[in-house]
């Protein structure tokens, strides 16, 4: 059992395995001990190959920002866990749900599929940069008034994706909106209120531009 565990966790050196075998046999075989041993083995496995942290310089919502990260950390992880910008939400972590959408050099991307090191030299716009002080952006205003959210997890992603759409196309049709938002999933609203709010936001932006 212990040998098998070592194999599964990739303990390859005989010495390491003997060490963990002795731990296993002297220790309590309760579940929490097993988990502790597994966690320690994982740490030992990881430690020698740990890649050096990198310094990444970006502009986030207009502010020059530097952070330290490992190559394996995604932009989403760094935004939320390193920079404490928790407005961007984690959903599926495989690019299907769109809840982690941010704008990278003006283009909408799912930040769970971007390595943070790739953001070096780039500009990032997140949900935190949409409102101007206490003044809501037209998209936020229309989502609020149009009840385009319920639980709210998908909302930052939808708002960023809508910002990207309205920057390119100020007169979207309903079909344009639905096609553009296809990469964002919402389990509460049934989408109609979101689509209507995006159309209302487009109109509001046009009105603001002419006045």
């Amino acid at each position: 059992m212990c040998h098998w565990l070592c194999q599964c966790l990739g303990v390859r050196s005989k010495k390491d395995e003997e060490h963990w075998q002795s731990q296993w046999h002297t220790g309590n075989r309760e579940r929490h001990d097993l988990l502790r041993i597994m966690a320690t083995i994982r740490q030992i496995q990881k430690a020698p190959t740990m890649s050096k942290k990198r310094v990444v310089s970006t502009t986030i919502n207009g502010n020059a920002t530097e952070f330290l990260c490992e190559p394996r950390q995604t932009l989403l992880e760094v935004l939320r866990s390193v920079l404490n910008m928790t407005g961007t939400k984690e959903g599926c972590t495989n690019g299907n749900c769109g809840s982690c959408t941010v704008l990278l050099n003006g283009r909408p991307v799912t930040s769970c599929l971007v390595l943070a090191v790739e953001a070096d030299g780039a500009s990032v716009r997140t949900i935190e940069g949409v409102a101007c002080g206490s003044h809501l952006d037209p998209v936020q205003q229309c989502f609020l008034e149009g009840a385009a959210l319920q639980c709210g997890i998908c909302t930052p992603g939808f708002i960023m994706q809508t910002e990207a759409l309205l920057e390119q196309n100020g007169h979207p049709t309903e079909a344009d909106v639905r096609f553009h938002l296809a990469g964002n999933l919402c389990r509460c609203t049934g989408y109609d209120k979101i689509v209507r709010s995006v159309l209302a936001a487009a109109e509001l932006k046009r009105c603001e531009a002419t006045t």
Binding site: N94, G95, V109, L115, A182
Partner: protein, 298 residues
């Protein structure tokens, strides 16, 4: 996600060196929409990720009298945002518009899609129909492989350890030619093709008869196929219902689809015929210079 090292070389030679030195444990990163997911789920376990987006050759996007050069790392949005591609290599724009959602299209590249070598990849049939050559750099120099020979099976292709797909080269479109790509999915977007078809056709001066054609089928075999016999049926003919039905029959004959949750083998074989007919008609419409009534995803 598992630990790995990251390198972002700026020259092709450095990238090939890094990939060769990795001896299979180094993976190139273009848009990352497949790679990062595969590393997270444990399907791939690279020690080094080589970001290839800073290499000029992989970002080239040029359409000229000698044809089109499409760098392997060029993201989809640049492909369908390129005026010459939309007008002269339309099938590529059709593909780019329906690979994932808009966020994926900001990052995902045609090169990555082809190297991932999925049988249902949306970019490969278009590249095959347009006669693309894949330019590959490796430790032993550069070689070229036709797009239809690049994939060898699900997730498999001709790339050897240390080799890197650099760009696609396509010949300049002939006069009176047009192309189209379409897939069948049960919804309008964000899905994997049940069956997909790309076609390019060239018409004679009178725009009546087809003088050249290439048809490619996706998701009906272990790799995307070039339907040579189906294209041969069209040569010298007007695209009448009868001729299109014969081409559809010929295409059905080479389809060897599987049955899975997206559809049965019989259903897929039927769809090959339907799509070949519609896609060739659409390519003919474009070859005539007429506007095609088509919305991406429909």
């Amino acid at each position: 996600m598992r630990d790995f090292d990251y390198a972002a070389p700026t020259t092709l030679a450095d990238a090939v060196t890094l990939l060769s030195r990795g001896n299979g444990a180094a993976r190139p990163l273009a848009g990352g929409t497949d790679l990062i997911d595969h590393v997270r789920t444990g399907r791939l376990a690279p020690d080094t990720v080589v970001d290839i987006k800073k290499i000029a050759e992989l970002n080239v996007l040029e359409a000229g009298p000698t044809g089109l050069r499409l760098g392997a790392a060029v993201p989809c949005y640049r492909v369908y945002g390129h005026a010459a591609i939309v007008s002269d290599y339309s099938a590529l724009a059709d593909s780019g518009h329906i690979i994932g959602g808009v966020q994926i299209q900001s990052r995902a590249s045609f090169g990555g899609n082809v190297c991932n070598s999925g049988p249902a990849a949306d970019s490969t049939p278009s590249l095959i129909a347009l006669g693309a050559m894949c330019v590959i750099a490796g430790p032993k120099g550069t070689r070229e492989v036709p797009a239809e020979e690049f994939c060898t099976g699900p997730g498999k292709n001709v790339l050897q350890p240390g080799e890197l797909l650099v760009e696609f080269r396509m010949p300049a479109p002939a006069k009176n030619s047009g192309s189209h790509y379409r897939r069948f999915i049960p919804r309008n977007e964000m899905d994997i093709a049940v069956v997909s078809v790309a076609a390019s056709v060239t018409l004679d001066d009178a725009k009546q008869k087809i003088i050249a054609a290439r048809i490619s089928l996706g998701a009906v075999a272990p790799k995307p196929l070039l339907a040579t016999d189906a294209a041969a049926v069209l040569i010298g003919q007007s695209p009448t219902d009868d001729v299109l039905a014969k081409a559809a029959d010929a295409a059905r004959k080479i389809a060897t689809p599987i049955t899975d949750m997206r559809g049965t083998a019989e259903y897929r074989t039927h769809l090959v015929g339907v799509l070949v007919t519609r896609v060739v008609q659409a390519a003919v419409t474009r070859a005539k210079g007429e506007k095609l009534d088509y919305r991406p995803g429909h």
